[in-house]
Every structure is written in structure tokens, then in C-alpha cells.
Assembly symmetry: C2
Homo-oligomer: 526 residues x 2
């Protein structure tokens, strides 16, 4: 039997204060206090401003002011621009002189039409929570922020179809749905800041893809402005519609390079009335996989998340949270968070307890805890969701978000750690070395690993040690160099490690076909 | 309480013999005995052969023989060609003089390269179970049958990823998966004949979309030959891969107009260990909707199908099956089939019985039955799955597969029936009138109605009464003229009722861009 004493809610008491962290997962870190270096300087060997793009002038500003009707919807003073020019990891910094914040799709269309005619480069920006520098200008691109387009358009409580502006914050959308008994079919740590439109442009995966599937399946329609200003809309599509090529699918995951998403229609499932969270300690990566296979079989339709974390990720998270780990019986090499979501509390708990009892009996799980209420569930989640912040806490983080066949998945973390040690770059405690450590965690249920190399500063030596080594390692295992974060600026030059020449040719051809002037999100993606 | 007497398995005894029908859902009907008219003759006012396409000559035959190595992989005698030239509804008939049955992707590539250079038109054909004439030539197009590419390539029992040739029959794929504890995430009446590749090309929805979502979400990768012979492959993609535009999504639902799908990689869920089926009698369409809302809420994660059927569809199915209806207590205007799939029989049955008890108590359900074993489940399903055959049994059927907002869904059947009656075309019993009746059924859970107009013969008068009337009615309700069957030949000219000018322009542009010579599946789609 699963030990009853580890179910005691008292053990979770210390975590409850952590809940607020969740909504702030993308708040910025200024731990190092250093100014962020310009991307153009850091990567001057890799990228130069393309002279085909026009430089912004006074006439352009007048034109935009005329479109937007109100000067409040434009930002052009240096201090206010900083927020839009820097990414939250403080790794990339652009030099845009202008942020436009339209309120309607028609305004976006007029802006794009003008920029296309004038050859002014544009970077669409949502909540600016991206992890590959995709929503930050590299040089002087105009930033087109969707933050003023933030209305729920409609919700049909029979079909579960939500239609909203692209700039609606994910958490706001989910809270709205909760009031109607529904749930947004995607959740991620940045939910308090990221936009629904940005999530689609990124094709974000997040924490519950395991249960609700990818956005390619759940997004029913998009409204978007193409580079020439054309307004494309499939936002009124019903759940099933087989009339012609599904163009919107190209926009999902296009990272703002093909069109500016302005509206989203998405199919939302009924909100589960019963959610359970268990946190388990496991002694090896091999055993983690066995726990996964068992969980998928026994928890089946109620399994909504299967996240794994290595011991070092929990050590750093504990330091960052200044809190005791929920599993107190010792340091374990691996931890697993299992979430179930269903419609009947008794049934779900019976399934979960039976599964855990079996796992304990088979010796797969060394210790564990089940949350007794919603607050405890969130506390346990915080030990997973705070990892990104904990990773960057000492100064910065090199993030690799990759897909690798399950059996080899954790091998990448070990390989990266070895490589960094060989270069004599790592010390978890001493400030003398630039690297704190390499940690691994992620959505095991989706074959998705997050390798985070936690650093005290960004430097070329670390980057050269890691790249292309990490990408070569992934290619050898037939993995993907970007599972859910996208290509952005960071991975633009590495797509060849994941895609064949034919695929890359097709991708470039699509870009050239729809954006012949290349004005949308240049220097990135492909 | 839900009446116990209606749970008696004895009531289902008479249906058990019906199981075999399921696998044969697409067997052909020759009830009328009449020869099928040539599409070129029936629609001579709408379509002429395009003289830009070359006519097949002896040199071409020699070339193909050389590629295929073996004359057995080519069909050119009239009698054998008939099977490939006619659709199963006996509504469309082409005049192809040649069927090619390659065994490898490379052979498909060589064939396409040659046809593109020579401007020979090609129709890719899977199991030939389409319902819009999409896989039948209109004139003398070469038929490229995928039936010889029928191997399972690999299956990963940890991730659930199946890779197979496009020509694998859906039921064979599902049986293979069953042996491994997995299920194909799509099911449809034609499973005994349709191909996995054809299902993707059609973006078929089928019976369990409600549970497992659309192919846009579950298909992980495709291998396909483009019109110029280029072999595109994303078949080794992992579950999550955000590196570039997702080109394969354009192929899903492209109906053979953009590329020839030769291989499929698809994510398969664990096979549910417990399946229950209930069949209910309901007194109005309004009540059917209430039963649906209740079922989705209470059955939630285990609800795997919610099908509705009108009384007339069951009357015709009863005649066709020569069997008594499972619900014997009278003729009801509507019936509902509910399927649950889960991992714990006791839990599932408790949920289903509680739901049904509540529905009875609220007066939503007039009578009902729950299958007691697998054979009874299949018997109940046969009253839903035999409707397409029953519809065509008197001679033919005009099929409309549409999406309409739920509240208006059944209104289309009533409107069509009224229109046909006004034209004095209908008599359910007498052979004096050409129309037997208009029936409605479908995947209510997906907002998907099948309107079948059952006829004793195909004639222009019926067609003119129905079209464009049906499409205009759908457009007024903001529905889709094709939910899951596609456009094919039947709906090519009606896309404007579902798509905007911008969307149609994009679709035509995609077609012209990838198939500039227009050799793939001409006269159809767009």
C-alpha cells in the first residue's frame, strides 16, 4: 500500500505561501543588475542590419499617428521602449524606436499595408514571454504590440467555442472560461503575461498538451493580417470544416513571420471538477519512464500532466523559493509530478491511489505525496513551475527546449554537464565559475525536455561549448531542436539539425511567397 | 431511476447477427441494376476535358511498365478498370484507361515526375470510399492507387506513435494497434475499406473525433510526393516539433490535389479497456441537445461518441436490415447513441447509469437500452452505421455532410423535406416518386449533420430542387457545406457558400503554387 503517512496534508503546509509565484512566472530578473547587451553587438558576427529596410522617419510617424487616431497608442521615448526591446531572460535587446499598439484589426491592416509598401520591418509582439528572442527586434524594426486588442469576442456555452482578440492574456481567458465551466486547452507558466495570439503564433505546448492535444487540433480559426495588409479570417469556422486547404495551420507556429494574428477561435473542453496532484521521488531516469508507462495505462483518460524534474533543478528551486522541499525524506535524483483531471472525485482518487500503491509495491517510487486540496496542488506545482525563474536567478540561463525519443531524453543533460565540466566552467556554489549547472526537467509525457544551463553571466565561451554540441547531439538521436519554444532568433541557424533540405526549402518558399519583401520579423526563424 | 427492464440483454438478441455489416459498410449496391452514368455525360454542362492534359499513349505505358518493373502493377483492361472508375455510391464514373499501383514511395515519385513533365493528369486513389467523387477520375486521368503500399512501418509502444504506408486499411491498422493495447484515434463506417492515407487526405472526422480530436492534432508527420516528384517527409517528427511552418497540415484535407500521401505517422492513445454503449429514444430535437449538454458535463472524459438519428433514418435502416429496432416501445422522432470509453468498468458504468437515471428523471429520455457486452454494443452501433447503406438501398442517395450551429442543425432536414414535398417528388412507399425521403443523423457532438436524400434514381430534377437551396440554407446559418467529406467533384462549385473571397483566393493560390500544371486531381476541389 501507498504509505498513508506521506499523504498527510501537514507536510505541505510550508508550500502554501508559494502560490502567488505562479502568475508571476515571467516577471523579470534584475539579479545581476547589469544592463542587457544589444543583440546587434552580441551577435555582430552573425547578423547585420539589412539595408533593404527603410529607416523610420518623421513622415512615417505622422502616418501611424493618423491611423491610430491617438498618440497614446504609440511609444517612442527611450525609457518606455526598453520594456518592449528586451526579453524577459535579459538575453536579447533590440533598438526599436517605435511601438505601435493598434486597437482594431483594420488598424493592423493599414499599418501592415503601409509598412509593406515602405519596406519598414515589423516585429509582432504579444506578452513578450518568448524564450528564443522571437518577439524582440534585432535592429530598428517597428514593434507591433497586440496588447490593446484584449477583448473576449464571444463564447458559446453549448459548443465550448471561445473567440477572442489575440492580445487577451491567457490567464484572463482561462478565468473567463472557468466562470462558464470550461477550461483553456493549454496552460503554461507564463500564463499571467502571455497572449492567446502569441501562444498560437508560437504553437506553445505547455503543461497539459498530454490531455488536450496540440493547438493544431484545438484552434478552430484565426484572424490574421498578412504582410500586404490582407485580412484573412477563418474565425467563424465550426468544429468541422473540410472546404479547402487549412491555411490557418501555417500561421500556428509561424512566430510572427507570416502574418499578425489578431483573433483566435478555440475549442475549449469542460472544466474538470476534480483535480489531483501527486509528487513522487524516483531513483533513476529508467524508473521515471516505467512510472510514465504505468501512469498512462492506469490513469488513462484522467492523466492530465506528467512532469519530471531532476534533483539539481529542485535544489536550485529550493534555494530560489527559500523553502523546504515537499519531499523531506532525502535528496532524490528524480522527481515526478502527476496531475489527474476528471469529473468524479471519488473515482479519480481511487484510480490515483491504486496506481501509486502499485508503483510503491513494485519499488518504482521511493517516496511521494498527494495534495489534499487546491492550495496544496498549487504548492506542489510551484516546485515545477518555478524552475525557469530559479534557473535564471544567478544571472541568466541558456535554454534548450527539445524533443528526443524517450529512452535517450535525459542523456542530453548528462552530456551537456560533462561537456561543461570538461571546459572547467561549472561550480554550483562558487562565483568563480560562470556556470551554476545544467539541469533537466519537462513534459515527459510529450517527449519534451527542457535543458537549462544556469549561468552567472552570458558569455561566448559557454555558448561555444554548448553550441553546436547540443544540436549535434539531438540530431544524432533524431530529435527536434525546438519542441515548443520555436526557432526565433536563437535557433534560426540550427534548423538544419531538425529538418531535411526538402523541408527547409518548402519553409523558405512559404516565407518568400507570402512575405516577398521580408518585412515580418526579419533575421529570425528561417 | 433508469428503468432496469430496459437494460435486459434479451432485448438485443435480434441485433447480434448484424455485426458483420460493420466491416462492409462500403460494399457496393447494385439494387437498381442500372449502369452508372459517366460523370462527363451527367455533368456535361459543368465540366469539359481540359485539352492541356496529354492523352495517354503507348510510350507512356512502356515508361510506367519500366518504373513498376512488373505488368501486374498496372491495370488497363476495361473490366478491371471499372472498379477504380466508379464510386461506391454509383453516382460518379470516370473513363481512366490506366491504374498504376506502385509499391514504393520512389516509384510514386518517378511516376509524378514523369506525369508532371508530360502533363498527364493523375487521380490518387485510396480505398475509394469517398462520398464526394474526389477519388474518381472525371475524364481519362490516370488512377494512382495506393493499395500496394500497405505495410506497417513501425510502432513505438512507449510513445504510441504508429508509422505506416498510406495504403494500410484503417481496420488493419486498428487491429494491429489493438494487439499492442492502443487504438487508432479515428473510426468510421468505411474502416474495412478506407486507407489511412486517404483518411488523412480527406481529413476524415468519423465517430470518435469528439474524444480524440481532429487529424490536424493527431497526425505527427506525413510522407508525400509533390506534383513535381519531390518526396516530402516529416514522418520522423516527434510529438512536439516547433521548427518551421507545419507544411504537412496543408496536405491534411487536400483531397489529393497537392501531393500524393505515401506514409503517415500518427499518435495513438491507449485503448480503453471499458466501452459502454447506450441507445436512447428522445421526443424532440430540442431535447436531443439537452441530453448532449448533460452527457458532456456528466460523462466528460469518458464520453467518446454522441450520435443522433431521426426516426425516418431508423425506419429505413430497419427495412434494410430486416430487423426489429432495439427500442421496441414505439416509433420515436429521435434516437441517440452514446458511447463511453474508459479505463475502469465499474467507474464508467456508474457514471453512465447515474447520467441516464438523471436524464430519465428530468424527462429528457423516453426509453433506452444499455448494451451488456461487446456483441450488443456492435449491434447497437449497426443501427447507426448502417444508415449510409440503408439510405442508398432504393437506388441512390444525395449526401450532404454539413456543419451547422447546433441549435439550427436539424432545421436543414426539415427544410429539405418541405422543399422536396413542394416539388411533389417524395413518397416513402410508392415507386411512383423518385425520392424516398430526407433523413438526418450524425455526430451531434461535433455539430456535424448528415442530410441524406434517399432516392430511387439520380435525376436532375431532384438535384435542382436541392442545390443550391441546401447550400444557401447553410450559408444563412453560417455553417460549412462540408464538415468531413470534403469538396471533391460534388462541391467544387459551392465553396463560396462556406469560404470568403480572401480564403478562396489563398486556396487557389496554394494550388497554383504547388501544382502549376494542375496535374493532380483536376476538375475538383477548387
Amino acid at each position: 500500500m501507498f504509505k498513508k503517512q506521506i499523504l498527510l496534508s501537514a507536510r505541505l503546509g510550508s508550500c502554501q505561501a508559494l502560490n502567488p509565484f505562479r502568475a508571476n512566472a515571467v516577471s523579470r530578473f534584475y539579479a545581476s543588475g547589469k544592463a542587457v547587451a544589444l543583440t546587434a553587438d552580441t551577435y555582430s558576427d552573425k547578423v547585420q542590419r539589412d539595408s533593404k529596410y527603410k529607416k523610420l522617419d518623421e513622415k512615417d510617424l505622422l502616418f501611424f499617428r493618423d491611423i491610430l487616431k491617438d498618440g497614446n497608442y504609440m511609444i517612442s521615448n527611450e525609457q518606455d521602449l526598453e520594456f518592449y526591446n528586451e526579453d524577459w531572460m535579459r538575453k536579447y535587446k533590440g533598438q526599436s524606436q517605435l511601438v505601435l499598439k493598434p486597437k482594431t484589426t483594420e488598424q493592423v491592416s493599414e499599418i501592415m499595408k503601409y509598412c509593406n509598401a515602405q519596406k519598414l520591418a515589423v516585429v509582432p509582439q504579444g506578452g513578450n514571454t518568448g524564450l528564443v528572442g522571437g518577439s524582440i527586434p534585432v535592429f530598428d524594426e517597428i514593434i507591433l504590440s497586440l496588447s490593446n486588442m484584449n477583448k473576449i469576442r464571444s463564447f458559446d456555452s453549448v459548443s465550448g467555442i471561445l473567440k477572442c482578440d489575440a492580445g487577451v492574456i491567457l490567464e484572463n481567458a482561462d478565468n473567463f472560461l472557468a466562470e462558464n465551466g470550461y477550461i483553456f486547452p493549454l496552460d503554461l507558466g507564463a500564463k499571467g503575461s502571455c497572449h492567446v495570439g502569441g501562444v498560437c503564433a508560437t504553437n506553445a505546448g505547455g503543461l497539459r498538451l498530454l490531455r488536450y492535444g496540440s493547438l493544431h487540433g484545438t484552434v478552430l480559426g484565426l484572424e490574421a493580417v498578412l504582410p500586404d495588409g490582407t485580412i484573412y479570417s477563418s474565425i467563424d469556422a465550426l468544429r468541422k470544416d473540410n472546404t479547402g486547404y487549412d491555411f490557418k495551420q501555417l500561421l500556428i507556429g509561424s512566430e510572427g513571420t507570416l502574418g499578425v494574428i489578431t483573433g483566435v477561435s478555440i475549442l475549449c473542453p469542460s472544466r474538470p471538477t476534480s483535480t489531483n496532484v501527486a509528487f513522487l521521488a524516483v531513483s533513476s531516469y529508467e524508473t521515471v519512464q516505467k512510472v510514465f508507462v504505468g501512469a498512462r495505462k492506469e490513469l488513462s483518460e484522467i492523466l492530465s500532466a506528467f512532469e519530471f524534474m531532476d534533483g539539481k533543478s529542485q535544489l536550485l528551486t529550493g534555494r530560489y523559493l527559500k523553502a523546504d522541499h515537499p519531499i523531506e525524506s532525502g535528496d532524490y535524483p528524480f522527481y515526478v509530478l502527476i496531475e489527474t483531471s476528471g469529473s468524479n472525485r471519488d473515482h479519480d482518487m481511487e484510480k490515483l491511489e491504486t496506481f501509486l500503491a502499485n508503483a510503491m509495491e513494485e519499488g518504482l517510487v521511493d517516496d511521494g505525496i498527494i495534495a489534499q486540496d487546491e492550495a496544496q496542488s498549487q504548492s506542489l506545482w510551484s516546485w515545477r513551475e518555478s524552475i525557469p525563474e530559479a534557473s535564471a536567478h544567478d544571472g541568466g540561463v541558456y535554454k534548450y527546449d527539445v524533443s528526443i525519443p524517450l529512452k535517450d531524453l535525459y542523456g542530453l543533460v548528462e552530456a551537456a554537464e560533462t561537456k561543461l565540466n570538461e571546459a572547467n566552467l561549472v561550480d554550483i556554489d562558487s562565483n568563480d565559475k560562470p556556470v551554476v549547472g545544467a539541469i533537466g526537467y519537462g513534459h515527459l509525457g510529450d517527449g519534451n525536455l527542457h535543458l537549462n544551463v544556469c549561468v552567472r553571466e552570458y558569455n561566448k565561451n559557454i555558448e561555444k561549448t554548448l553550441e553546436p554540441f547540443v544540436y549535434e547531439w539531438i540530431q544524432e538521436k533524431q530529435g527536434s531542436i525546438s519542441a515548443e519554444h520555436g526557432l526565433g532568433f536563437q535557433k534560426k541557424n540550427y534548423i538544419g539539425y531538425s529538418k531535411s533540405d526538402v523541408e527547409i526549402k518548402l519553409i523558405k518558399d512559404i516565407k518568400n511567397h507570402y512575405d516577398p519583401n521580408g518585412i515580418l520579423n526579419p533575421y529570425k526563424y528561417v
